[in-house]
Each structure stands twice: as structure tokens, then as C-alpha cells.
């Protein structure tokens, strides 16, 4: 036998053994969970950290022996932020991959596109998107049976901002918002809740998600002399608007950002212009700042350390939504196995006092979001970092 033959034979044998092992593992059975994230496209700042977080968690869980001794398998599809693609991928997860539950999608629009599919196919879905409509069926006034969600709603963010303004005795505010779904939804909540907190909205301006300059809108607002300015957007525009605000010398008007500002990258990009800006944030953004006796202190610190160690980039709060969703599914799996109906019932009745990245969740038949207003803390930018606002 020549050396070459030996090499070839050995390789084949090794492959065979490898195949055998992998089949043996598959035979033991895995728990299959689906995930839909906008990894690329315009909502990638949501989907990218979500995917990274979910993959990191699965790795950790499997390294620690899996769930009930079975391997956890996460099947991720990229939605590209597109409703049609999300719909197709979701159906593929249900029929081809036969997953027992799905986490995601990242956006409210894409989630709304698959809510009926989840109901029809009786598959538990834990969305990572903000809109309250995801868990509120307008016809029945109750949540959809199979759909849950983890992020705080826009209502909670608007209430957190208004509560803070109210405490400072401010009543005259101006709103600027981006013309995307996120901005429109936040603007709607700000307008709806204004009377409840005695706020008068003196200006209501908008800009496009790719606009280069918002000086015109801010000049108009400056002319109306409001006592505070609330901006509702995500992406680069929320930094540009902040810079224009500084340039126009409007520093005496307190500037409030939505929870969309929740990434340290924004403070960095603003290059000093973010000092003194207020925004409502979930616990996972401010893990270091939380007092030691805060219920979320441990989980958020742990997540932050692991994420930074693995990906070497600052934590984005959006990844926390995937953390919450996936861990709920895992908790359900370890208690009731991978039966879809049992998982749904478990989520609805047994997620009580679940300590997550964005709050302490208490699901119930009437509440598939499970959070209270306390899941947001008001934060101020101080010396280039977050600090708790008083």
C-alpha cells in the first residue's frame, strides 16, 4: 500500500467516524428554536446584535450540557427588514425546520406581517419589536393567543419622558420625529399622552431617515420657544439633529431622546454634543450604574461581560430583547419539553418574576408584554457616558 492510499483511506475513515458521531448526536434529539432577525438591511442595527446575542447564548447553553440533556439548535433566518421575506422564512421554520417556537422578528412591521401566520399554525412567537399592537388584538381587546413580546412599548418610553418633564414643571414641549414606523409610532404616543401629563405641544416637526440636515426644523422650533425638546428617531439622524441643536445655540432647552438613543456609539458619534441629553433606557444599557440591590444587576452585568468578551464591541440594548426572548423559550423547554401548545401555556402562566435584560417580566392571559413603566430608567449623558438622572 502506498503512502497515498493510506492517507486517502484514513481520511475516508475519519470522515465516516465523524458522520457516525454527528448522526448519533442527532438521533438523541435536539430542541429546535427558530429566529427571525433583520441581520442586514436598514434595520440591521436591531437584527445584528440580536443574532449575535442569540448565538452566544445557544453556545453557552450547549457548552453547559444543553437543555434537559438535549442540544439546543437555533435556526436563524435573515428577514432583511422585509415583510414578505419574513413571512416566507417564518413558514419555512414551521413546515420545513419544524421548530417548536420562534423568537423575533426585529421590527414591528415585520412582526405584524406574521402574527396571523403564528395564530393559524399555532406556533409560539416571542417578538423583539416595540409596538403594543403586536400583543393587542383590536377586535377582542386581548392579546393574540400565540404571540408574545419582550421590548418595552413606545407608550412606556413616552410616559417615562413625560413623568420626568412633569417632575421638572415643564409644560410646553416641541416634538421632532423621523418619518419611519418607529418615529411615527412614538410621535403618536407622545401626542396621545400629552393631555394626561398636562403637556402642550407647540411644534411637531418631522424629517426623513436619510436627511442630511435638520436645521430648518429646529429653527422653526426655536422660534416657538418651547421649554423642552423631544426627539424620536433611530440611526444617524438622531446624532445629526443633536448637532444642529447645538449649532443653533439651543442649549438652554433640555433635549430628550427616545429609547432609540440607547447605544454608547451614539454618544461617541455626537462628539460631545450629547452632553446633558436625557433618555429613557432599559436596565441592560446601564448595568454598571444600577445599585447592587437592583433585581436586574446580576443578569445585566453577566450579559454585558460575556458579550464584550465574545464580540469585542459595546453592548447594544437591542440584543437584550433577543436575550429575554430566547431565555424564556429555554425556560419553557426545560420545564415542559418541545410541545408547542405546552410552551405557549407555560409562557402565559408561568413566566412570573422572570428577571431579564429589559425588566422583570410577568406574563398573564391579559398581558403578553409583561412589563411595567419601571422597566425604563431616566438617564442623562454625563462626561461621555450614561448616568442616572434625578
Amino acid at each position: 500500500m502506498t503512502l497515498r492510499r493510506i492517507t486517502v483511506l484514513t481520511t475516508i475513515c475519519l470522515f465516516g467516524i465523524g458522520l457516525f458521531i454527528s448522526q448519533a448526536q442527532a438521533f438523541k434529539g435536539t430542541y429546535k428554536v427558530g429566529a427571525l432577525f433583520a441581520v442586514t438591511g436598514k434595520w440591521s442595527f436591531l437584527g445584528d446584535p440580536e443574532k449575535k446575542t442569540a448565538e452566544m447564548l445557544v453556545e453557552q447553553i450547549n457548552a453547559a450540557g444543553g437543555v434537559n440533556g438535549r442540544k439546543l439548535e437555533l435556526i436563524v433566518y435573515d428577514t432583511e427588514g422585509d415583510a414578505t421575506k419574513t413571512n416566507l422564512a417564518f413558514k419555512k421554520l414551521i413546515t420545513k425546520n419544524k421548530v417548536c417556537a420562534v423568537i423575533g422578528p426585529s421590527g414591528s412591521g415585520t412582526t405584524m406581517a406574521i402574527v396571523p401566520v403564528a395564530e393559524q399554525n399555532e406556533t409560539p412567537l416571542i417578538s423583539c419589536a416595540a409596538s403594543y399592537k403586536i400583543v393587542h388584538n383590536d377586535k377582542t381587546g386581548k392579546p393574540y393567543k400565540w404571540v408574545f413580546k419582550t421590548p418595552q412599548t413606545d407608550t412606556m418610553a413616552a410616559e417615562a419622558i413625560y413623568t420626568h418633564l412633569f417632575k421638572r414643571g415643564i409644560t410646553k414641549i416641541a416634538i421632532v420625529s423621523v418619518t419611519s414606523g418607529f418615529g411615527a409610532s412614538g410621535r403618536g404616543e407622545l401626542i396621545r399622552l400629552a393631555p394626561k401629563y398636562g403637556m402642550t405641544i407647540v411644534a411637531d416637526e418631522k424629517y426623513g431617515p436619510k436627511d442630511t440636515d435638520m436645521t430648518a426644523q429646529l429653527t422653526k422650533i426655536k422660534g416657538k420657544a418651547p421649554q423642552a425638546l423631544v426627539n424620536w428617531s433611530v440611526g444617524p439622524t438622531q446624532v445629526t439633529v443633536l448637532r444642529n441643536y447645538r449649532d443653533l445655540g439651543m442649549d438652554k432647552i433640555p433635549f430628550y431622546q427616545s429609547h432609540g438613543f440607547g447605544s454608547r456609539k451614539n454618544i461617541e458619534l455626537a462628539a460631545g454634543a450629547a452632553e446633558g441629553v436625557y433618555c429613557p433606557l432599559g436596565a441592560c444599557n446601564i448595568a454598571e450604574l444600577l445599585p447592587a440591590n437592583h433585581p436586574q444587576k446580576d443578569v445585566t452585568m453577566q450579559y454585558m461581560k460575556n458579550y464584550k468578551a465574545k464580540y469585542n464591541e459595546p453592548l447594544s440594548s437591542f440584543g437584550g430583547h433577543a436575550w429575554d426572548s430566547l431565555n424564556m423559550v429555554v425556560q419553557a423547554l426545560s420545564n415542559v419539553g418541545d410541545d408547542k401548545a405546552k410552551i405557549r401555556d407555560y409562557l402565559e402562566n408561568n413566566i412570573k418574576g422572570f428577571v431579564g435584560q429589559h425588566g422583570v417580566f410577568n406574563y398573564s392571559p391579559d398581558d403578553h408584554n409583561g412589563l411595567t413603566n419601571e422597566s425604563f430608567a431616566m438617564v442623562i449623558v454625563k462626561d461621555g457616558d450614561w448616568a442616572l438622572a434625578d
Partner: protein, 300 residues
């Protein structure tokens, strides 16, 4: 805080509009250069602007080259990308129809955008302003020093281009290709080289636009499309192929957006600009400074 007067508000709208409009105008000029020589609309024009901004960030912030070196280095690199676009995507097409070439530029734009996403990721990048961020107050309106740079570069670009096209042999040769490519090649002008040059020039101008606007609005991989649409609107408004028209079109669209946002409704500012565009095309289909005679001989 002192209340801002209506007059200074108007002035502020004008300054903002002219700045934003200058960027649109530079994109529109880029469209025109290629259109004049090849009769195609280069849909990758916005991508040149995006590349200009991001490559400048790389040279100036990541590598740490001083502004005076990073600027020409960026322009040269983007110019090379423009030349590559011509050599790889435009020239190899046999017996090209105008439509095929336009589709090739759309493909190139998607490719460049994808490549930029892989290289730089999806986050926006910032560039320090050329001469600080301390705003100048002028009659109650506020001017960022960077605004002056943007407007200044537009003026420099326009002057250089008009000298180039009217006073130099190469420039005149390019203009000849624009008038009649067949006749131009009969008198010994290398039309293919002129096309290459037109891609190089418009890529360079796109890069300048990207470099100057990044300190104002940040830059990320997918901003090119929006700028291309606005720049295209400006080129059409001014009359496709006309350089003064491109400048005028850009400044008008920028100002309408700014005044529309300030005086009427910021939610509909893009609609105002488009309404004016449609109205102008309705009364003068060749654009404000375009000529009907020229547009009749063009294939597109």
C-alpha cells in the same frame, strides 16, 4: 433664551437650503458629465459620494493622515473606482444600448454598496469638521464653518470644470463626444478614453461631495441612493446635461426643502421639491436651462 426673529429664521432656512442644495448640485454635476459623453445615467453616482465619505474617514481618522493629504488620496482612490467601473462594467458590453448600460450601473451601485457594507459595517461614521465646529452667528442665523466649505467646494468645482471644458483640448474633445460621438472619432478623438475620463471625473466630484458633507451628516454604507435620487432630481430640474442647470437645480431643490420644512410642513418637504420638479417639467420638459434641440438628438 432670546427669541429668534422671523427675518433671521428666513435667513437660516436659506443658508441650510443652499448647503444641502450644494451637495445635490455636486451629485447632479457628476450625473451630467457622464450623461454628456455617454448619454447614460450613472446610477452608481450616489455610491461615489458614499465612498468619498467613508474612504476619507479611513484615511483621516483611522490612518491619521492630515486633512491636506487624506483629501487628495481619497479623491484619487474614488476616481480609480470610477475608472474601474467603466473598464469592468461599461466597456465590456458589446453593442450597448443605453438601457443596458444604465442597468449595468444599477448593478454596480448594488455591488459597491454591498462591498462598503462588508468593509465598514452598517454603522454611521463621523469625520471631524475641516475647521472646527464653532458656529458663526450672522444676523441672528447660525452658520457652521463646514457649510462654507461645502458651498466653497461647489464653487471651485464649477470654475475648474468650466475652464476644463471650455479652455483645454481634452475638455473640448469631451464636449465633442457629447455632441456627436461618431464625428468626434472621425476627427481622431479616442471616444473610449473620453468615456473613461468622464467616469473618472464624475467619481472624483462625487468623492469631493462625500468628503465635505460627512462632517455635517455622518456617512454610512447605504446613504448613496438617497443622495443620487436628490441629485438626479436636481439634474433633471436644471436640464439634463447643463452644468449651470445642475447647480441651479440643486440649489433650488435644497432651498425648497428647507423653506418648505420651516414654513409649511416638515413632513412633506420632499413632496414640495418633487411638486416643483413636476411643475417645471410640465411647462418646460427639457428642464430650466436645458435646450429642446439638444434633447431631441439624444437617445435618452
Amino acid at each position: 433664551m432670546e427669541k429668534i426673529t422671523f427675518a433671521s429664521q428666513l435667513l437660516q432656512y436659506l443658508i441650510t437650503g443652499l448647503t444641502v442644495g450644494s451637495v445635490y448640485a455636486m451629485v447632479a454635476v457628476g450625473f451630467n458629465i457622464i450623461y454628456n459623453v455617454t448619454e447614460i445615467i450613472n446610477f452608481a453616482q450616489g455610491e461615489f459620494v458614499m465612498l468619498g465619505g467613508l474612504i476619507m474617514v479611513f484615511f483621516h481618522v483611522a490612518v491619521g493622515l492630515p486633512l491636506i493629504l487624506a483629501f487628495p488620496a481619497t479623491v484619487i482612490l474614488v476616481t480609480l473606482v470610477g475608472m474601474l467601473l467603466d473598464r469592468m462594467a461599461i466597456r465590456p458590453i458589446r453593442r450597448p444600448s443605453v438601457l443596458t448600460l444604465i442597468i449595468a450601473t444599477i448593478a454596480a451601485s448594488i455591488l459597491i454598496k454591498g462591498a462598503a457594507m462588508f468593509i465598514w459595517g452598517k454603522d454611521p461614521y463621523d469625520l471631524p469638521a475641516f475647521s472646527g465646529r464653532n458656529p458663526i452667528t450672522f444676523l441672528g442665523a447660525v452658520i457652521q464653518p463646514q457649510y462654507l466649505w461645502v458651498i466653497g467646494f461647489l464653487i471651485i468645482t464649477v470654475i475648474t470644470l468650466s475652464i476644463f471644458f471650455n479652455r483645454t483640448i481634452i475638455g473640448k474633445a469631451m464636449t465633442a463626444c457629447a455632441d456627436n460621438a461618431d464625428a468626434a472619432s472621425l476627427v481622431g478623438i479616442n471616444v473610449k478614453q473620453m468615456i473613461l475620463l468622464s467616469f473618472a471625473l464624475s467619481a472624483g466630484i462625487g468623492a469631493v461631495a462625500g468628503i465635505t458633507v460627512t462632517p455635517i451628516s455622518l456617512m454610512e454604507y447605504d446613504r448613496g441612493v438617497m443622495l443620487a435620487i436628490k441629485g438626479f432630481g436636481a439634474a433633471i430640474l436644471g436640464g439634463l446635461g447643463s452644468f449651470p442647470g445642475a447647480i441651479l437645480g440643486g440649489l433650488i431643490i435644497g432651498s425648497i426643502e428647507s423653506f418648505g420644512a420651516g414654513l409649511i410642513s416638515s413632513g412633506y418637504k420632499d413632496a414640495f421639491a418633487l411638486l416643483v420638479l413636476i411643475a417645471v417639467l410640465f411647462f418646460k420638459p427639457s428642464g430650466i436651462l436645458g435646450s429642446i434641440e439638444i434633447s431631441k438628438i439624444k437617445r435618452f
